[in-house]
Symmetry: C2
Amino acid sequence: MKEAKEFLAECYNENPRLKKYPLSEWESALEKEKLQLSSFRGKYFFRLNKEFKGFQAGTVFGKNFFVPGYPSIPRIFVLKTGIKRYLEYPFYAEEKIEGYNIRLAKVEDEIFTFTRRGFVCPFAYDRYADFLPRLPEFFDRSPNVVVCAELAGPENPFVSEFPPQVKEDVCFFVFDFYDTEKGVFLAAEEKLKLLKEYDFPHPEIFGPLAPDKDYEKLRSLIFRYHREGREGLVFKTEGAGRRVKYVTPYSNLADLKVVFPYLGEVDPNFVSLRLIRLLLGIHEFPELKDEVMAEVGRYMFEEALKSLSLDQPSYEIFRLRFRDEANFLALLSHFKQTRVNIEVLEKRWEGSYLRVAIKKIYPRATQFWRSKLEGWGEVD
Amino acid sequence: MKEAKEFLAECYNENPRLKKYPLSEWESALEKEKLQLSSFRGKYFFRLNKEFKGFQAGTVFGKNFFVPGYPSIPRIFVLKTGIKRYLEYPFYAEEKIEGYNIRLAKVEDEIFTFTRRGFVCPFAYDRYADFLPRLPEFFDRSPNVVVCAELAGPENPFVSEFPPQVKEDVCFFVFDFYDTEKGVFLAAEEKLKLLKEYDFPHPEIFGPLAPDKDYEKLRSLIFRYHREGREGLVFKTEGAGRRVKYVTPYSNLADLKVVFPYLGEVDPNFVSLRLIRLLLGIHEFPELKDEVMAEVGRYMFEEALKSLSLDQPSYEIFRLRFRDEANFLALLSHFKQTRVNIEVLEKRWEGSYLRVAIKKIYPRATQFWRSKLEGWGEVD
């Protein structure tokens, strides 16, 4: 703890963003474990494990960098009234990609890949260069910008769902640039310019749009996305303006399908929230009513029925490719640290990639279904 | 408070059941509002609002009576393994009736009708004589027995679902006799004898049964109940033995149908619990799989879609008949006390019955759906 405190004091002296609050406040956050010392590849940094004053959970900083947590985006349930309530001309609609949020930032002489919670994701660290090869060049010119991307695809370590356009492996979809000096996201025009200039893969972006004129356009888009198995849209006004998101009925159905076998591991609201969104979805898209009503049962129950078993625990298999075995080991140690139960099923080199298959075992889901299958009762 | 304390001391002196704990403990429960003074038709009694030592919430007592709270019965999710785990020969399977639990007990010179929570239900008080006309005679012979019944039917004030065999009005289904002196439920043989002798309506009762031999019989029964739109079964071993319950897939579907328009008023687990039961139901009854998967969406969404509206609040209409207008007024005042928002839509005498229609308005459900329809967003 003494070392952490010393390092905190050094960071405080050199990092102007910390001076917003007195050192003693930061020290008290450290004592309360809101602020935690973390490290990756021999570099130390702090991560906010919980919200602290004006800073969000997931904020990370060291002596020479400060990356704020990625803000939560409120979800609207009805497109028609929601866009009018929150947005104004000009706003942009971007495809919402089913994956996980990674903030790529320059930390001293390296590029680190921070998860939403502020850990460095060793998988993202291993692979970003495959998809964003011109990122070093980008950071040479803009060392104080954070590149925000969704890491998505069938071969990622955290999320079972993936966008239809990624047929194998993964991809990094860059959706925001955050200027840490000005404290804003770059405006759409500049973002589009940079995405093109550095050839960064990105979600579909539509706009500029007006809330009172473009409802039908967005409605058709959501309808097409539903058909194509895409997740939804994020609406962004410029700079520090409002942002909201909206998901397709398909996305809710797919969530129900993947989560049902693992009930007991997730928040009990997970299921009802998706059903509520589906109901409001078919209220706004009556042309999808018959389809959703007929199919939702199959989405909830079909896979889950197959997985009900007394003989083996609830698990999911994730397949991944790594450039560097050390990053795979770092991922395993991340899982150990966050108490995720892992079994390595396969590990072999294929060309320049280490191909691995890991099994995540879900003890709470196992116990949840097993006790019921074994005939145990519950008072409700 | 002083009067309540004096009355408590009087009860303590005269009622031997209270002596299990010192008076000071009861007084402390009163101070903590675990124990509350209640009254009906000028008679005072105490009700336990929360569990207190060995006594359950819903326990009621006065100077000369003591009615323990009706015990919670654990639910099993799988019939096959559940009956083997909890039951032994001889046990009985009784139809579980969809309604609400009423304990009828002799209080001085009157018969009171206590709800699960220990209030006197003015509706049950008004109507029991229509369905249990020989109850006074029963209590003359057995003043220390509590008659436990389910009040069920399309015209009850609390529950929107009802058993298929009650086509109009309500009925009292007697399912237990509790001997307050011996502290046990009467055994099946004695119960069946009394039900017959006093001509009390009751649920279907099957038995004696053996857990290792009668699974197929119970399975067929549940299958028939599902088809007939019945709720399920309660399994009871004799006397102080174990009890468990099991519900049909139909019951879960019907619960989803009635609750969906009123989400926001109920525990968020309500929906997922029923879906979990449905999944385990079709695991055990694969012959119902296709039907349940195809129909569950319609049960959840069809009525709820119709009720989505910005123009009027979420509500339900209940129709009731009373013998005595004073009991209707007492019910209204019960709703007021328990903060249920009521509007009287209709009130007219028809023969010897006052026929009433009341509208229950659900402010939380109204707000829940309205805010979403109005386009408000939420962070999840």
